[in-house]
Subunit: 361 residues, 2 copies
Amino acid sequence: MSKNIVISIDAMGGDHGPSVVVPGVAKAAQMLPGVRFLLHGDEIRLNAELAKAPAARAVSEVRHTDKHIAMDEKPAQAMRRGKGSSLWNAVESLREGEAQACVSAGNTGALMAISKLILRMGADLERPAIVASWPTMKGITAVLDVGANVESDAAQLVEFAIMGAAFHHAVHGSMRPTVGLLNVGSEDQKGHEEVREAHAILKETQLDFDYRGFVEGNDIAYGTVDVVVTDGFTGNVALKTAEGLARFFSNEIKSTLTSGPLAMLGALIASGALKQMRERLDPGRVNGGPLLGLNGIVVKSHGGADAKGFASALRVAADLARSDFTAEIDRNLKRLTAPAAPGGASDGAASACVERDGASE
Amino acid sequence: MSKNIVISIDAMGGDHGPSVVVPGVAKAAQMLPGVRFLLHGDEIRLNAELAKAPAARAVSEVRHTDKHIAMDEKPAQAMRRGKGSSLWNAVESLREGEAQACVSAGNTGALMAISKLILRMGADLERPAIVASWPTMKGITAVLDVGANVESDAAQLVEFAIMGAAFHHAVHGSMRPTVGLLNVGSEDQKGHEEVREAHAILKETQLDFDYRGFVEGNDIAYGTVDVVVTDGFTGNVALKTAEGLARFFSNEIKSTLTSGPLAMLGALIASGALKQMRERLDPGRVNGGPLLGLNGIVVKSHGGADAKGFASALRVAADLARSDFTAEIDRNLKRLTAPAAPGGASDGAASACVERDGASE
């Protein structure tokens, strides 16, 4: 905790910009003593917000730019014309060594494209991944990739497992994270070639985490493992399916408990417990999806996050910056490329080449 | 409603066998006048259950076999040694013309394998699909494939769209179903090659349903479209993710509302409204996942379904048997293979060949 950290922030990103970012910094300042913040954006708007938030002002420095990237701008366009924008400058502060982590609530595609351009991929890593932290029955499960890629081969899935375990260790504090590979069944022959091959590699390699084999969709909410690994297409669909369902449930509860005088009275009486439940299920509580695999720590905050959610993304960035996250990834990547123990590699590969099969119940 | 239908049933399938199947038939008999049932299974156990359920006995005939397929039996093994089992005989009744639809709560993989073997694929159809009916904010959305396949190319996704629309029309009564293709964003260039190619075909072909383009995971619960089309891997993960989350929420509500005397009092007072909500969200209400694409109507009931759930699967089977489901699929398949209107095909294909892109928020 003694390390001094600077976090650079794209203060114009997200649905609300400075009016959420600055109160978010104020909240984070209390949780993160010793951390300072570089706010990139419109200095007039930022100073006006900072004047209302002395806790944020005491730990912040403003870097003016009047350029920012729109939430709906295409990644390719953002790369071409984004230089000098608040998002671009926030990432550049990282490369210049002025900051140890960067947070943006802006356009995900643009953040990914510009971060890859400015920071490049980490040594020996092939593809970045976005990781999401889900509240589950047992705690927090990290799911990745949730949208940096649309397809992933076996080697990339193995990288995601390594990065996800290092993330869970750094941010959610598990000493030896359990890791599962998302599939349509638990037997070795289930699923497509990419997951079966990744399964064989993860089974046969000695890594810093506890690989538990295949898991299924329901295992995410059950919290069966700390880290769930999947390709960006499936992960993105699963995450958004869950978000949609969460909103559906929350609407149903609200309309049920206001559906008549008796229900309203009941809800009023139970309101304390219901508020606790909402907080426990609140996605903002674990806001902050790092873009893993880059030469630098970049965290995406949800575009619609409130100040508390933005502070949570800042906390994730600080935790990653203070951890030996990168060293842990390097260590595991080296084990992957090291020659396997006799018998291991070929056995694993053979056992994965069984009959190909659809999903059962 | 005047057509006389016989439904053949694998009466030994599922977690409970005859003790759920027979009460399920009794419930269905009330909803489905004129429908008769062929119960394949152990006649001693079946007759004992029928003796307790006169409503079922009046419309049922028992076909004895003492062989049945275990819930965890591998599909390949079930195909080899399954002949003469309750599941096998139930499907065979369909081919023999004794029944117009078949329902099993047994092993999904075995049901799929044996149905394909006995019934074969429908004319011009390449792959079967399992369809699930989800309660949503607006009604019922059919999602397919949820697990018959682990990979699907563009032509198969287009078939799923056609089969899903015909299913929604037959079972959930929409006159001109709206159809969406599941993806990680809504723009034409989003996603992998298979979805972009299927999107181009569906956009340019005039079909009996209203193709609305790409939808995302959250659109399922929102009920944005009547039919959501996806590959069996993604669909299975999405379905099970939602099932896991639904159980998580339901546990949270239960533990919240019993967390203290005040919360319990509130829950007691609001209990009528809470019960209504549980019923509205009850997956058993829309139990019954047909295996589409075969020469015959085969419906999978959830293995853990109760009598009400099993009756719902029987209702789905009867609705499909009474509809012109197969004719509707044939009509649309013919339009697919017909030459496209001038300009349509090439434009659509070209617009899909844009930059490949990850998911954005």
